[in-house]
Amino acid sequence: MNPIFVLLKKEFKVEFRSLQGIVSSAMLAFMILMSLRFSIVEDSILQSSGLLWASILLTGLGLITHISTRELERGTIEIMKLSSISRYQLFLGRMCGYLCLLWILSTVIVLIHYILFDNLFTNNFVLAYLVILVGCIGIAAVGTLAANSTTPMYGGWMLTSLFSIPLLLFTVIEAAIRCTDSLITGSSDFELALMLLILYNAVFVSGGAWLTEISD
C-alpha cells in the first residue's frame, strides 16, 4: 500500500474514533460565525465570502495544530520518523490526512454559513463549494509545513497559526476570496482568481514537500 494512503487511512481512523478535532473545530467555527453574524451590521461585509474564509482559515489551522500537537505529545511522530519512507512522502501523507479532515470541516462550516447567512452564492453554490475544497489544499500544505517546524517548539500550538496566517492571507486566502466573491457578484474575475489559487496551491504543496525532504 502507498505510504501516503497508509498515513491518510490512519488519520481517518484515529480522528473518527475520537472525534476530538473535527467536533471541537466545528463548534469553534459555529461560535465564530455566530458572533460575526450578530456583531457585524455592515451589509457589504455580510454579503461577501470573507467571513466564511476567515472561519475556515482559523478553525482549519486549529484542527491541524491539534492533530500535530497530539502526535508530538504521544510520541507517535517518532513512529513516522523512524519509518523508511522518504520525508516528502511523510509530508504528503500527513498533508493529505489533514486535507481530508479539512474538507469535512469545511463542509460543516459551509452548512453553518448557509444557515446563518443564507445562500450568498445563489445558483453558483456548488461551484463555490468546489472552490472552497480547492482552497483547503493550500491551507493544508502551509499548515502541515508550519506544524512540522513549529510544533516541537515551546508554544508550538500557537506558532503554527502565527506562521501560517501571514503566508496564507495574501496568497491562497486572497485568491480564494476573490474567486468566491466573483461568484456572488457575477464579475469576470473568477477564472483568473481560480488560476491564481491553483498556482499558489501547487507552489505550497511542492515547496512543502521539497523543504521537508532537504531538511532531513
Partner: protein
C-alpha cells in the same frame, strides 16, 4: 553491526557524548549502563537517526553512514523507546499493521497476529491499545521494533514495566534474534545475564 569512532553529540552547551567509540558486531548483545542523564538514550536516538550527531569520524551501521543514508539505516534498525509510542484509538493489531504498511511490509492480519503472538499479545490484539497496561504497551513497542526483521536492535530500557513472564518473553526473543545474527544494543539499569558485554557510559564516553 555498528561502528562509532570519535562520536560527538551535545544539546546547547551541554556536551552529552564526547569522542565516543563503539563497535557492536553481528550477533552480539551489548548492555549500556550509566546514571540518569549520562546519554544512553541520546546515543541510541542518534544511531537510529532520530537525533543528529554534531560530529564524528566514523558512524556506520552495516557499513552505511548514518547521516548519508538515513532511509537505509531506518530500514535496518529496530528502535524501542523508553516510553513506546502508540495510537490509543487503534487496536494493538492496527498499530502494528500501520507500522508495517508504512514500511511497505506484509501487514496481513495473519502475519501481524503471528508477530503479536511472539510477544504474548495475540489474545489482546483486537483490544484498543488505549486500554493496554504499561507492560502490554512495552510488549507492543517491542513487537513493532522487531516486526520488520531489523539487523540491529536499539532498546532503551526494554524491561520497564514488564512482569517476570514478559521479561522472559523479551529475553527469549532477543536470544533468537542474536542467533539470527542481529546486533543488539540495549540500555538497562538492571544486570542482564545474557549479554556479551556491559559498557558504562560516563562523562560522554564508554568504558
Amino acid at each position: 553491526m555498528i561502528k562509532l569512532h570519535s562520536f560527538f553529540k551535545s544539546f546547547g552547551s551541554k556536551k552529552v557524548l564526547r569522542s565516543l567509540d563503539l563497535i557492536l558486531d553481528s550477533g552480539e548483545i551489548i548492555v549500556l549502563k550509566g546514571t540518569n542523564g549520562s546519554g544512553k538514550t541520546t546515543l541510541l536516538r542518534s544511531i537510529c537517526t532520530l537525533d543528529k550527531p554534531d560530529d564524528y569520524d566514523v558512524a556506520a551501521l552495516d557499513g552505511y553512514d548514518i547521516l548519508s543514508f538515513p532511509e537505509e539505516i531506518r530500514s535496518r534498525v529496530g528502535y524501542l523507546s523508553h516510553n513506546p509510542p502508540f495510537y490509543p484509538e487503534l487496536t494493538g493489531l492496527e498499530n502494528l499493521q500501520f507500522w508495517l504498511s508504512l514500511n511497505s511490509l506484509n501487514s496481513s492480519e495473519s502475519s501481524v497476529r503471528e508477530i503479536l503472538a511472539k510477544v504474548g499479545l495475540v489474545l489482546f490484539s483486537d483490544d484498543l491499545a488505549g486500554h493496554y497496561s504499561r507492560g502490554m504497551i512495552q510488549r507492543l513497542g517491542f513487537a513493532m521494533s522487531i516486526s520488520h526483521s531489523p539487523t540491529t536492535l536499539l532498546l532503551d530500557e526494554p524491561f520497564t514495566g514488564l512482569d517476570d513472564a514478559g521479561c522472559k518473553i523479551i529475553e527469549n526473543q532477543l536470544l533468537k534474534m542474536k542467533e539470527a545474527g542481529c546486533s543488539i544494543l540495549l540500555s538497562s539499569h538492571d544486570p542482564i545475564s545474557f549479554s556479551d558485554k556491559t559498557l558504562t557510559l560516563e562523562n560522554g564516553a564508554l568504558s
